[in-house]
Symmetry: C2
Subunit: 324 residues, 2 copies
């Protein structure tokens, strides 16, 4: 549930946006990419979002369907154009974004009364994001969706902190705190954890998140996942389980979307009931595979690719052609 | 003086924006393109405009300089991003635009007190646009620039009617009327003339525009230029001169920018003191040449290309390669 837009990726790498000459357009928006990633792994997925009533919105709905994501809850907002986001590529770790989401992105116009709460309750996973909390009516809609599940497994809040969407970091924390009370899984990097909990140290942040999460229903225990970039990923579960895995090495082309690939594979591992360390390893491999490719959504790996990456110990698969 | 932004042109023709896969970025904005077109014809030009304080703004300033347009009066607006405009190509006559200029384009944040009125007064041509009248403070700034010249030759208002920038056509006319009172040259197509004067018929519209224009100084007489698309162009001068020329045939690739090429060559002809029919023929040839190319600004013809197009009777030059 949440952000959806058109991403414009440069066909020239290592230059600033002021020097990029050509762009390729892709489906974008973090939760949309997570849905695509989970669909690629064989999961039945749907997206709750909104677009402009324009050609780019039509493209996004068509693309979601082609990726196997149910788009019935992706509706049109006549007042606002579909957002576009430009990026520049400075591998391995700098991928600045320029958002065109003002005065308001359609995906922040999700109204609580439009939600299909039966579908939200019955889904085996709900994935929400911190960006969904940044403005009304999306904030209330996101909280309504989270509350409808009341701690049911698996209810995810991706902290997804984007400074550009908030007036000030301090304004975000109360909303994160409230959302986490209804989630069973929290996912974020160090900066996102600091905004949500005040803790930046991975262990302390994971514990702080666990302290905020809903107790969970019979099917699960609360889980905090802290992404540490080059240092891999750490997860703590409320029942004491703990896992930390290093990242898979990869020749990074475009780091954008790696976190969404991670999210899709995390969802897949949770649904499969894999051991925590295996889930993190597969999620990390999915992220590495996407980081090694220009595209995000079309580059999401399938199960076989994750297996091969883990078998070879590298996110750069030996026989790989990047069609983009 | 006026609009400036990044244009994203599709590298696929004949498909809607929802099917375009790749885009090339170009300098865009009608008066910016007119300045480039006039520079290409050897005229010393400068642009008064504003961009965001962002990489696309840096690109535009650099690009203007490379095209020989003085960018000293192109300043940054920290609050708003540089506008981007997407287009789709349905030759020969449908080139729909999708603007990302909200909540406000930096070029509508031109303030009257920032204008260099000495430079505006001493220029041999001032080119303004109707879009500059659509919002404050740009409206007052545009009128201030026009008034500063008080009928001095050549003071141009390009009617440049863009419905997306106005709440309703009826709100535009009083501002057009006021601006025309200080201009010596008016340029527009049938629809633009109708918005500005209520007259759609070319002869009637040209006469209505002449009735509104400033009397002009010793150097000129008021001139109304009505662009009629496939039927060519009509011009009436207040001293009774009249010229109508047919269009030059061309295999249209992208009609966008053709009007700006026309504008640049019109300026060139006015400055050279060419007979009215010659000026219109050269301007029409410049427009045809650009319509036959994907790009706008980089495709503006030089004097030799206009000569060759007129000699061959076609806007598609025989030896032409389109590098875009």
């Amino acid at each position: 549930m949440g952000r959806l837009g058109v991403d414009l990726y440069p066909l020239q790498s290592g230059v600033g946006l002021d020097r990029v000459e050509t762009f390729r357009r892709f489906l974008g928006g973090s939760p949309a990419n997570v849905a695509v990633a989970a669909a690629r792994l064989g999961r039945r997925t749907a997206l709750i979002s909104r677009t402009g009533a324009d050609p780019f919105g039509g493209y996004l709905r068509r693309e979601l369907k082609e990726f196997g994501v149910d788009a019935r809850w992706v509706t049109e907002v006549p007042e606002h154009p579909t957002p576009v986001t430009f990026c520049a590529l400075f591998p391995p770790d700098d991928f600045p974004l320029t958002f065109y989401r003002r005065p308001k992105a359609p995906d922040l116009e999700i109204h609580p009364h439009e939600l299909d709460l039966d579908a939200i309750r019955s889904a085996r996973v709900l994935w929400t994001t911190g960006t969904g909390l940044s403005e009304e009516p999306s904030r209330t809609a996101t909280l309504t969706a989270l509350k409808a599940r009341s701690g049911r497994a698996h209810t995810v809040l991706d902290l997804d902190w984007r400074p550009a969407f908030w007036p000030h970091p301090a304004t975000a924390r109360p909303h994160y705190t409230e959302a986490l009370r209804h989630a069973t899984v929290a996912v974020g990097n160090a900066e996102e954890c600091e905004v949500a909990t005040g803790e930046r140290d991975p262990e302390a942040a994971a514990r702080a998140l666990l302290g905020l999460l809903a107790p969970g229903d019979a099917g699960t225990v609360p889980l905090a996942v802290v992404k540490r970039g080059p240092e891999g990923v750490l997860a703590l579960a409320a029942d004491g389980r703990r896992a930390a895995v290093p990242p898979l090495p990869v020749d990074v082309v475009n780091g954008l979307g790696a976190g969404d690939a991670f999210g899709g594979a995390l969802v897949d591992g949770l649904l499969a009931g894999l051991p925590l360390a295996d889930t993190l390893r597969r999620a990390g491999a999915a992220g590495a595979l996407v980081a090694g490719r220009l595209a995000c959504a079309p580059a999401m790996p399938d199960t076989d690719e994750i297996d091969r990456a883990l078998a070879t110990g590298s996110g750069t698969l030996p026989t790989e052609d990047d069609p983009w």
